[in-house]
């Protein structure tokens, strides 16, 4: 209760209420996340359930167009799935991969950055060079090699089951250096402050000083890049799926939906690729706009507290 009261009176909340961009982008983001969470409840069809899909329903245009049916608001895709339901499930997959990848890269990056920054010396040099090397390898190459090896080793059927954790792993591994560098930079600033020396004089061990004393003071920039990184991860996933390295068509994400519909754009079925595309752009745009606002408002040069 007290925490809520503090939050309500904070500068953060005040500037949030005053900024229309922040309000709108956060509302849209929150709405989309809710919708994707409750997709099984909201969606009129279950696109994963093959027994409800009829190939005869394929390529039906949106309901307001000629030949459209009331049952399929945004039309159907090439396999006869209701596009609206499939998009909801696709958004759910994309958001899950995006947040999962950010959690993974965040935890990895924070542990590495905190250790490098606090311990310093050779450990710092080693960890940061590893991060540099990781950063110099494009994630597409990592993804292509990983999924090629995986499909060879376990077969395509198994790959379809494990595509989601694999994508989280690939995107997470290719992006963790961003976190490591951000965290290391703020740890270098924090560890010279006297409260860290005070903790050492008490006799606390380094792990406790790192995680209980320094880490909470470095989380502001982490929060800021996390929002941008969610958008980044969702886009990476879409790109990988579009290239056929991501989610299979049976469990489509937004990216694989766009890819599946892309082949039919010129045959007139524009809706299969357009609507998922708009949804993807909307989602990443609001996340980035919100992240931008967050960066401005939490910038210590503009506001201290």
């Amino acid at each position: 209760m007290k925490a809520w009261w503090r939050f309500k009176n904070s500068y953060f909340f005040y500037s949030f209420r005053r900024d229309p961009v922040a309000l709108v982008s956060f509302s849209v983001f929150f709405f989309l996340v809710l919708v994707s969470l409750f997709a099984p409840v909201i969606a009129p069809h279950n696109p994963y359930d093959t027994s409800t899909i009829d190939v005869m329903d394929a390529e039906i245009p949106p309901s307001w167009m000629d030949g459209g049916q009331e049952r399929f608001w945004l039309g159907t895709d090439i396999q006869g799935r209701d596009l609206y339901s499939t998009m909801l499930y696709g958004l759910r997959t994309s958001v899950a991969i995006g947040i999962g990848a950010v959690l993974f890269q965040g935890i990895l990056g924070i542990v590495v950055g905190l250790t490098a920054g606090y311990v310093g010396g050779r450990v710092d040099g080693f960890l940061m060079r590893v991060a540099d090397i990781q950063f110099s390898i494009p994630y597409l190459i990592v993804a292509i090699i990983t999924s090629a090896i995986f499909q060879l080793a376990f077969g395509v059927g198994r790959f379809e089951q494990l595509a989601m954790p694999l994508l989280i792993l690939i995107i997470g591994i290719s992006e963790w250096p961003k976190y490591a560098r951000t965290v290391r930079a703020s740890v270098l600033g924090e560890k010279q402050k006297e409260y860290v020396e005070a903790a050492r004089v008490i006799g606390l061990n380094p792990v406790r000083i790192m995680y209980r004393h320094i880490l909470p003071n470095t989380l502001t920039p982490v929060l800021v890049i996390s929002t941008i990184q969610v958008a980044q991860a969702v886009m990476s996933e879409a790109a990988l799926s579009f290239l056929g390295l991501g989610m299979p068509v049976t469990k489509p994400s937004l990216g694989s939906l766009i890819k599946a519909g892309f082949q039919y754009v010129f045959s007139g079925s524009w809706w299969i690729t357009t609507f998922p595309g708009i949804l993807l752009v909307t989602f990443t745009l609001v996340v980035i706009l919100f992240g931008d606002w967050l960066r401005d408002v939490l910038n210590p040069k503009l506001y201290k507290g």
Partner: protein, 339 residues
């Protein structure tokens, strides 16, 4: 030899150098066509020895960059010394592991200069204060810890009702009180205070100094007090140590150092205190600048600016020799009886 009944802590031949040469690539230089590795070190402490007696306040004074803070941090164990010993009671503590050091951690504590940086901004005052007690008494109940926090907060003059607040909600003086409270939480017997009042308003300085002196009286504390403020020194000290360029110049009881400074540097330093109603300034003007601690002068570090330096001062490093029962002075001229 330190006498264990009177001496609480003694340091012997303490040397601390900081390597500022950076990475391996920065160290390499080309000299006459040959690649050489060159290190740059700041000589922050050079062979400093003295002892701190039980119950006294030993002040260390000197200008910026003379190694006062390094001395404080080496004594408390934040920096490992390059050479020399720190002896607490009758045990050497400068080379102990973190675990062996723990019993000493609760006997010696530190108060820091900047009250805005020395309290973790993300922790409430209650958490800042209870952390050391709970850490050193793992079996302690939450209620007992809270009671102890309230007790100590009361003692330092901060209302225990404010324990749930964050440091940024307090003024500089109150923060410094909280910082002192944190040091007192583990009931130490020795406190290193690194310029505890330098960042405060003059009106607040006196309050904090009185708080420190009251705490000393009630708890029988021993202080190592680092400062550059000579009026503070006169107010609080039992004995005063004067440092210049990482070496100890003179150590003497407070009254005698102010009335009869022996070392030429001490004389010059104390003559810089302005006095009321003074017509002609008795200020001893030193020539030149303080040399860089990267390249120390040969012999006595003060010889380049000393009014009395001779050939011996340029060649030979003076050692601190006892002067009276309580003092030390490191000067050839004083040792020769010419001053």
């Amino acid at each position: 030899m330190p006498n264990p009944t009177t001496s609480l802590l003694s340091i012997r031949g303490l040397v601390k150098h900081f390597d500022i040469s950076g990475g391996l690539l920065d160290q390499l230089t080309l000299e006459k066509g040959r690649l050489r590795r060159r290190r740059t070190t700041v000589k922050a402490l050079n062979d400093v020895s003295f002892e701190i007696r039980r119950g006294e306040t030993l002040s260390v004074v000197g200008e910026s960059g003379c190694g006062k803070s390094t001395l404080a941090r080496t004594v408390i164990g934040l920096y490992p010394p390059n050479r020399g010993q720190v002896i607490y009671g009758d045990q050497r503590i400068d080379h102990l592991t973190a675990r062996q050091m723990l019993p000493f951690r609760r006997r010696m504590q530190m108060i820091f200069q900047d009250p805005y940086a020395s309290l973790n901004p993300r922790m409430t005052v209650a958490r800042i204060l209870e952390e050391p007690v709970i850490f050193h008494n793992p079996g302690m109940s939450a209620a007992a810890a809270a009671e102890k926090v309230a007790d100590v907060m009361d003692q330092v003059g901060v209302d225990p009702k404010w324990a749930d607040r964050y440091p940024h909600e307090f003024s500089g003086g109150q923060r410094q009180r909280i910082s002192i409270a944190r040091a007192l939480m583990v009931d130490p017997e020795f406190i290193v205070a690194d310029e505890p009042v330098s960042a405060l308003d003059v009106s607040i300085q006196a309050q904090i100094l009185n708080l420190l002196m009251d705490a000393q009286e009630q708890r029988g504390l021993t202080y190592l007090f680092i400062t550059h403020d000579l009026s503070v020194v006169r107010h609080i000290s039992t004995r005063v140590a004067v440092m210049y360029l990482g070496t100890l110049c003179e150590l003497a009881p407070a009254a005698s150092i102010f009335n009869q400074p022996r070392h030429p540097y001490t004389q010059a330093l104390l003559s810089a205190i302005p006095r009321l109603g003074e017509q002609r300034s008795r200020h001893i003007r030193l020539k030149g600048e303080v040399p860089t601690p990267i390249h120390l002068p040969s012999g006595c570090v003060f010889h380049g600016r000393c009014l009395y330096a001779d050939e011996r001062c340029r060649q030979e490093v003076p050692t601190a020799t006892p002067l009276g029962p309580d003092g030390l002075v490191a000067c050839h001229r004083v040792a020769e009886g010419k001053m």
